[in-house]
């Protein structure tokens, strides 16, 4: 283990890698702080660049940029009352209320410090759990993997959407798009309509850029002339009073981080849901719930820790099982495959130095967050003044070139355009996009394990429950399906307009 660890250290502490991490940190801060540009979008935009890098700087760039972006989303939340990324939406009103009361400094300080601490907490759990789970997963057969994928996909719908029908519909659409190309079990070309390019399936990265960037740009284009008003307050010493907040609310920090890591690790739900849930939990168990919503720091401690710890948590299932914990790690899995580091327990045996390198970069990124975040807060007014009418066209062009670079043909641009429009249309109509991406990422593995299991069992469905771990996973999955059906029958359908 120590040789792998020292190898990892030398991989990370290479001037080139450190430079890439620093540049991605600045990029992540900017993207996170700009309303309308999300952490997932930052990742999707980074991939065409990281495509040409060795694995460690490529993963380092993504880890650093996303950690920064999730924090930076808090800045416009407090100053403009617009969350920079969806992960800050849960406590945007609270932050803005604090800023209005003249507590902008304290709010920014708490957001910065607890984001970094929450991020570190998530990493520690990742470092402890991932190798242990990998050891367990080494004995998994196709039955366990089938149920694991089924459970992951189910969780994505169960946690991430309040409308299971539309969630499942989106998932089936995603899995259906994943079916395009050579099928993984028999090698037969499906739904290719004679196109050579479709034989390899729908290109994953252009699909991501379409779903996460183009759909966002389409929404941005119709509001490009609407800008928020930056609060006229000066930022002073942001670290004053943070220590007192920590002494008073250390339990909130721990609770938020635990919830965040756990929700991050559950497939399909990421930082945004982690923040919403931990804010709600904080309010529910608070001694002074009446202060929530009036600019009270307590709920912010919970949720700002939670959304950053979710990032580390999401890497646990991604690295160990190849099942993404959120939409960012869904993209990461695509990157891992491109770098021939197929995620799964064997990566911990064959390439442990890469895994350790990711851990080290995660720690580094969260430490780097303090100085770079401080600079970002100081220069927030300039960042938030970046004209969106210049930014939007340039990002669009970058998406086009990036998609082209993934396939070296205009086919990539076509995939980006079609899926971007599809993603926009579905989101307009209340269908969640995350299950589509999960379906697209997991489709091949899901089907392959399903077909292998069917052949092994000779069509006998009872074999899917014959092994103990498979049986447990299977029962949990089926129970979730039953619960969702029950909830659908009893829930009022009025909520869909929300």
């Amino acid at each position: 283990m120590w040789t792998a660890f020292s190898q990892a250290m030398s991989l990370v502490f290479d001037p080139y890698v450190l430079w890439i991490c620093f540049a991605s940190a600045v990029f992540g801060m900017f993207v996170g702080a700009m309303p309308g540009l999300t952490a997932t979008m930052a990742t999707a935009l980074l991939v065409p660049i990281t495509f040409f890098m060795p694995p460690v700087p490529a993963l380092g760039a993504i880890v650093t940029a996303t950690a920064m972006a999730i924090f930076a989303g808090d800045i416009p939340a407090a100053m403009l009352r617009i969350p920079g990324t969806p992960a800050s939406a849960a406590y945007t009103d609270e932050s803005y209320a604090m800023a209005r009361k003249g507590q902008l400094d304290l709010n920014m300080g708490v957001n910065l410090v607890f984001s970094a601490l929450g991020g570190l907490f998530g990493v520690v759990i990742l470092i402890v759990c991932a190798p242990w789970l990998a050891e367990l997963a080494i004995n998994f057969s196709s039955f366990e993997y089938f149920w694991l994928a089924a459970l992951g996909l189910t969780c994505a719908i169960f946690i991430a959407t309040d409308d299971p029908v539309k969630g499942f519909a989106a998932l089936f659409v995603g899995l259906g798009i994943g079916c395009i190309g050579i099928d993984p079990a028999a090698g037969y070309p499906r739904f290719t309509f004679g196109s050579v390019e479709l034989l390899q399936g729908v290109s994953f990265i252009p699909a991501m850029i379409g779903m996460f960037a183009i759909s966002e740009l389409l929404r941005g284009a119709v509001t490009v002339d609407q800008a928020g008003q930056v609060l006229g307050q000066q930022v002073g010493n942001i670290f004053r009073g943070v220590g007192a907040v920590f002494r008073r609310y250390w339990f909130n920090f721990l609770r938020g981080s635990v919830i965040g890591t756990a929700i991050g690790a559950l497939p399909g739900a990421g930082a945004d849901i982690a923040a919403w849930i931990s804010y709600a939990v904080s309010k529910k168990f608070s001694k002074e719930p009446e202060k929530f919503g009036t600019g009270h720091i307590e709920g912010i401690v919970d949720s700002t820790s939670a959304n950053n710890s979710a990032l580390g948590g999401a890497w646990i299932p991604a690295l160990v099982f190849g099942i993404p914990g959120d939409s960012i790690t869904a993209i990461v899995i695509g990157v891992l495959y491109m770098k021939n580091m197929n995620p799964g327990p064997t990566v911990f045996l064959q390439n442990p130095q890469f895994i350790y390198a990711v851990f080290i970069i995660f720690i580094l990124a969260n430490l780097l967050m303090l100085p770079i975040g401080w600079v970002a807060i100081r220069s927030a007014k300039q960042i938030l003044r970046t004209p969106r009418n210049i930014l939007l066209p340039i990002i669009l062009m970058f998406c086009i070139v990036g998609s082209y670079a993934m396939t070296n043909s205009v086919y990539g641009i076509g995939v980006m355009l079609v899926l971007g429009l599809l993603g926009w249309l579905l989101e307009e109509n209340g269908f969640p996009v995350a299950p589509i991406i999960l379906g697209l990422v997991l489709g091949e593995m899901f089907e392959q394990n399903f077909m292998t299991s069917m052949i092994k069992a000779d069509g006998n469905l009872a074999s899917f429950f014959a092994r103990p771990i498979a049986a447990v996973l299977g029962v949990i999955t089926l129970a979730l399906w039953a619960y969702m059906l029950w909830r659908m029958r009893h829930a009022a359908p009025a909520a869909q307009d929300a």
Binding site: F51, A169, R190, L218, A221, I400, E428
Partner: protein, 162 residues
């Protein structure tokens, strides 16, 4: 563009039926009862179920089948939206004959001007962005961005761009 649940369900079922219909000629795996058709058919069945549930729900709360978002009433926003789709289309059709640089320069400039950027700023932004994209992707990352009209340039100029 918002559809009501009934229409969304009907579209979903249509797609599912088309998908299942396409699997009819898929072969079986040798010596097995199933083949490449099994998984898409199961997905199709799932989509039909979701579609039927949506239709049932749509019948309970009546809403118009299609409704446009509020921004669609403003022609300027409608064109803004269409331009976001037109730029990728322009790339698909114009890059090969005309080249990456001219297409990008013109389309960026048009979009920037449409978004009411001042002409001088728009021209500068379009020039800088195009040059940076060509140098970063075309030269540093060796992405074969189509040169098109740039091939007319003297070769010693081209080496700075590719």
């Amino acid at each position: 563009m918002r559809t009501n649940d009934t229409l969304a369900g009907a579209i979903l079922i249509t797609i599912a039926l088309a998908m299942i219909a396409l699997t009819i000629n898929f072969p079986l795996m040798p010596g097995q009862k199933y083949g490449p058709a099994l998984f898409p058919r199961l997905l199709g069945a799932g989509m039909i179920m979701c579609g039927m549930l949506l239709i049932l729900r749509g019948r309970r709360n009546a809403r118009p089948a299609l409704a446009l978002a509020s921004w669609a009433a403003d022609p300027w926003r409608r064109v803004s939206f269409a331009l976001m789709l037109a730029l990728p289309l322009a790339a698909i059709f114009a890059w090969t004959p005309i080249g990456f640089v001219p297409t990008t320069l013109v389309s960026l400039l048009l979009l920037l001007l449409w978004f009411r950027t001042r002409p001088a700023t728009a021209l500068l932004a379009a020039l800088v962005a195009t040059a940076l994209l060509q140098i970063f992707f075309g030269k540093l990352m060796r992405v074969p961005l189509p040169l098109g009209w740039l091939l007319e340039l003297p070769p010693h100029w081209l080496k700075y761009l590719t």
